[in-house]
Each structure stands twice: as C-alpha cells, then as structure tokens.
Amino acid sequence: MSIVESLELAVKNIVSSKVRTVLTMLGIIIGVAAVIVIVGLGNGLEGYVTDSFSDMGTNTLTVTVMSRGSTRSLDVEDMYDIVEENSEYLDLCSPSVAMSGYVKIGSDTVDSTSSLGVSEDYFEIAGVSVAQGRGLQYSDMATRAKVCVIGAYLNQAYFGGNAVGQTLRVGGQSLEIVGVLAQQDEELEEGGSDDCLYLPYTTAERITGEASTYTITMKDENYIDESVAALESSLYAVFASDDYYTVTSMSEMLETMTSMINILVGVLAGIAAISLVVGGIGIMNIMLVSVTERTREIGIRKSLGAKERYIMQQFVIEAAATSALGGIIGILLGDGLSVIASTVIARVMEETLTVSPTLAAVALAFGISVGIGILFGYLPAKKAARLNPIDALHYD
C-alpha cells in the first residue's frame, strides 16, 4: 500500500465527515492565520518605519544636549565649531528648535503643523527642495529674520497655492512666508510630511529658548562609528562628562526600532503558535476518538492482511492531511485578514501600512501544521496499529 493510496483513503475519510474535520482543524486554522497576520503586520510595520527613516536620511546623526545641571554649556556656535573640527567625518549641521504652539493663519488656527527652527542647511540635510520663492539663508540666521518656509500642504490648504509674500503667526510672532517646499507625500494631508513650517533657528530661539537638538550629516555613511566617536569626544571635551549629551545615528535608531519590532512580532507569533499546539492536541484528541470508533475497521483490515505499519501510515497520513488542510485554510484566511487589516489601517490611521505576509511565513506555517499533524497523529496511530486483531474484530 503506497503513500498515495493512504492519502486517497485519508481524503475520503476527511470528506465523509466534514463538520468534524472542520472542528478538528479549527485550532490549526486559527493558529496559522494568526501567525501569518502577525508576521505580515510586523513586516508592514518594519517597512513603514524603514520608509519613514529613509525619508530622514540614514546618513544623519542627532545630537541632544541636556546642559541643565552642568556648569558648562554649549550653544549653536560651539556646535558649528565642533562640526568644523571634525570635518573629516562631519558635513552639514542644523539646530532643530521644536516650536510648541499653534500656527495662526489669518483667523484660522492650525494645530497639526510641525514647526521647526532650523539653519540654512537644513533643507539639504533633509533632502527637500524649495518649489516656490526661496529657502532660508545665512543672512536670515544672522538677522533673526521674521521669515519662514512652509510645506506644500499649508500652501494649498490655506493660501490657494500663493503663499509666498503672505504672513502667518507662530507663537505670537508674525512671519513672512518666503518659500514653499516641494511636495513630499503622494497626497497632501493634514499632519503629513507636507504639513510643516521652518523658520530661522535664531528667530525660533527667541520665541522658545536655546537650541538643544542638532541634526548633523556625515561625509560618509560607511564611517558611522568613527563619526559618532569623533563627535562624542569633542562633546566630552566640552562637558568633561558624558551625562549631558547623546549622539544617535539614524541607522542605529532604525536598527533599534527594527529589532524591537522583531522582538514584538516574535512574542506575538509565539503566542499565536501556542494555538497551533492546542490545535495539534485537538487533532490528537479527535484521532484517538477516531481510532476507538474505527476499532472494528482496523480489526477487519488486519484480518485481511494489513501490517501494523500500513495501519500506522493510514492514521498518520490522515492526521497530517487534516492539519495540512487546516494549514491551507489558515493561510488563505490569514491572507484575507491581511488584506482587510491593510485596508482598515489605511482608513482609520490614515497611514499606508501594508500587512504583507512573507512567503517564508506561509511556507513555515504550512510546514508546521503538517509537522503537528504527524507529531500528534503518531500516538493515536500507534494505538491503532497495536490493536489486537481479535479484540478489534469483536469490538462494537
């Protein structure tokens, strides 16, 4: 008796008791679907994070200075000096002064806009270009000019596309719009990358206070460690302690984020995998019942010359086929749920986060479900194979 024949027999048995088969497979279906959705979600999340980081450029370093408590301090000029000193590794520098408070345009209050005080190099660092008017200039910094450059969203939504020359207010300060940035997102939306505003950091410092965060680009992305080390040693020289500053590289942060996501996904997938084990136990349970129910059939088959290994093979293959079928249904369900989840996320969170199941996850889920069938089908199959033919024949 070949494997193919055992498989045919198994399919016949599976088909002849559909409801039971579906109930048996339920644990596997749910487990596989859950694993696929979770891994897909993790993938989507990782892709989303990577995308957002690559927008920022992976060759940038972020320095945060917390000079409170220290007897020494570091201002923007000092920072420029440090970048200059390390010009072997470091290239451009811009302070980032985050502005709290709303943007007021005429009588409208806009609370979604991120407003940042930056240097004239910032647009080059961030890789955005100016579409209308001009960008920020060194002279704006020096004169604390009351000017700003806005994102395409504000330009479209509040100025009908003709913002240059108009004014708006940030933190009570009236600013003249001198430029509009090129559109970055596919669509202009509130809170998106295009809902932004940049003013000279000197002007911003007057409103908010001294700059404490800097964005610095590296000359060569391949020397991240050296660049960070150079920057840190210069900062240490200033503060004589490493408690007052942190240097983070974007790629390092990306790595941290990615590994955090991976851990999260691993834990969640592990929890989902428990349901696979529970499903396996369900299969074992049903197979044990089935062995008891089919004791007479086993006796008949044995009297007709079935060897133990054929009986064994028949039951193991039936268990494996049941859980494999469960696995396939679970994969289809998981894919379906992934599509639904992507749509829901896009609707609710207004972010494009594609839940994309990987082929590897699908193959693994299928393999695991077959494996579980074999593993948990083994014991009942052994029991069936060992039945004494005489007892089995007289069982009813």
Binding site: R301, S303, L304, G305, K307, E308, Y310
Partner: protein, 247 residues
C-alpha cells in the same frame, strides 16, 4: 501429501485473574488441500479459539500449528499479516464489510495490502463480484444491500486473493434459513472448484453440508470423521468423570 493445516497438541489458555481457562486442550487434526471441513460444537466448546489460530489471528499457547508446513507459532506480527493476506480468506458472521467503501473497493482491500497494482486490482475485484452475482452493484455501499448480499460480497472478498483456505465463521448465523442455504450452496460450489473450506458452526444441520466434521467439546476433539457417519451428529456425552483434563 503434506497437510495444509496441521494441529499438533495445540493448547490455548486464557488467564483471567488467577483462574486459567483452557479453551483448546491438546487438539490434533490435519486438514488437506481440497477438503470441506466443518468444525462444530456447542457454545464455549472452543470453536472460535480454533478459528482464530487457524486464521493466524492468534497463536497457540502450547503445541504446534503448521500452515502449509510452516510453523505459525514462530512468526512475528508482520509475517502473520502476510500469511493472512496470502493464504487465508475470511468470511465472518457479521460480514465485516467496510461501510464507507463501495462493494468493489471492499473486495479490493486484500489485494491492496498484497500490493497488486490498481488497474489489476479493480479488474479482479469486479470479476470476484461477478462470481457471486453482484457484478452490477459494484458502486453500491454495503448498507444498501440485504444481509445475504452482503455475505456474498464478503465471500467475493475472501476469494479475490486466491487463498489456500477459506475460513467461514458462522457464515449463516445472521441470515434467514433460505439465504443461509444460498450461502452454503455457494461455499459448496467454492469447494467443488477445488478450494479448501473450513466452516465453523454450532449448527449440526449446517455442519452436515461439509464433507468432514470435527466436533469440539470443552476444548477437546470428540469426533473427527466424515459428515455422513451416524456418530457425526450425535452429541457425545461428556468425557466420563469430567476429570480427564490435566490439572
């Protein structure tokens, strides 16, 4: 000529707690190729015990059972399964057909375990069904047939592998007398075509249809001879004193 079936002092003990039941007590007989033998006896006399041993479903506790000259007692489970498959054809009282399979699939089962390829299997199974007059019903499930028809399917299944011995355990037990006679006639026909048939029954009127009768009582053979001899159907009184069994 060597006997096809040979019992040499075959004993079978069942242990229940600390009592030992002797179901077969030093049984000796030989059955030759082409014979039609009925093993008769009242309930508990040891017929099923003998049938299980002849059918290689069980092995003797003591003594030797030679099937086709080979000592069955020395064989492992796989070899016993092979022997059942190749040399024996079972006909049971309860038909024992597989309810989920149709008739031809049922008849195919022994051939499947013998490794006969699919096409040939189907052909031979159809031919065997044809022989028992159910050739046109091969797609039906066993439950759709009458008892007599089901028993004919089980006869076809017993015959399909060309076994050396057809072993029938109370084959008419579940049938009315007319259908029972039909089945018996079929067994006689099988015998006439050269097969060895061993029939197990408690019913004398059925046993006399065989050529030869082996009568059992309390695990002993009390008669072994032609079925037309007058002693064949006379139930002999219990062995005098009843203490003839070894302690």
């Amino acid at each position: 000529m060597n006997a096809l079936i040979e019992f040499q002092q075959v004993c079978k003990y069942y242990y229940m707690g600390d009592t030992t039941v002797t179901a077969a007590d030093h049984i000796c007989f030989q059955i030759y190729r082409g014979e039609f033998v009925a093993i008769v006896g009242s309930s508990g006399s040891g017929k099923s015990t003998c049938m299980n041993i002849i059918g290689c479903l069980d092995v003797p506790s003591e003594g030797i059972y030679l099937l086709n000259g080979k000592d069955v007692g020395q064989m492992n489970k796989n070899q016993l399964a092979e022997i059942r498959n190749e040399l024996l054809g079972f006909i049971f009282q309860q038909y024992n057909l597989l309810p989920k399979l149709n008739l031809v699939e049922n008849v195919e089962v022994p051939l499947m375990y013998a490794g006969v390829p699919k096409g040939e299997r189907r052909e031979r199974a159809r031919a065997a069904l044809e022989q028992v007059g159910l050739g046109d019903k091969w797609r039906h499930k066993p439950m759709e047939l009458s008892g007599g028809q089901q028993q004919r399917v089980s006869i076809a299944r017993a015959l399909v592998g060309n076994p050396s011995v057809i072993l029938a355990d109370e084959p008419t037990g579940a049938l009315d007398s007319r259908t029972g006679r039909e089945v018996l006639a079929m067994l006689q026909d099988i015998h006439r075509r050269g097969n060895t048939v061993v029939l197990i029954t408690h019913d004398n009127s059925i046993a006399v249809q065989a050529q030869r009768i082996i009568r059992l009582e309390d695990g002993h053979v009390v008669y072994d001879g032609p079925s037309d001899a007058p002693e064949a159907v006379v139930v002999t009184p219990r062995a005098a004193g009843g203490g003839g069994r070894p302690a």
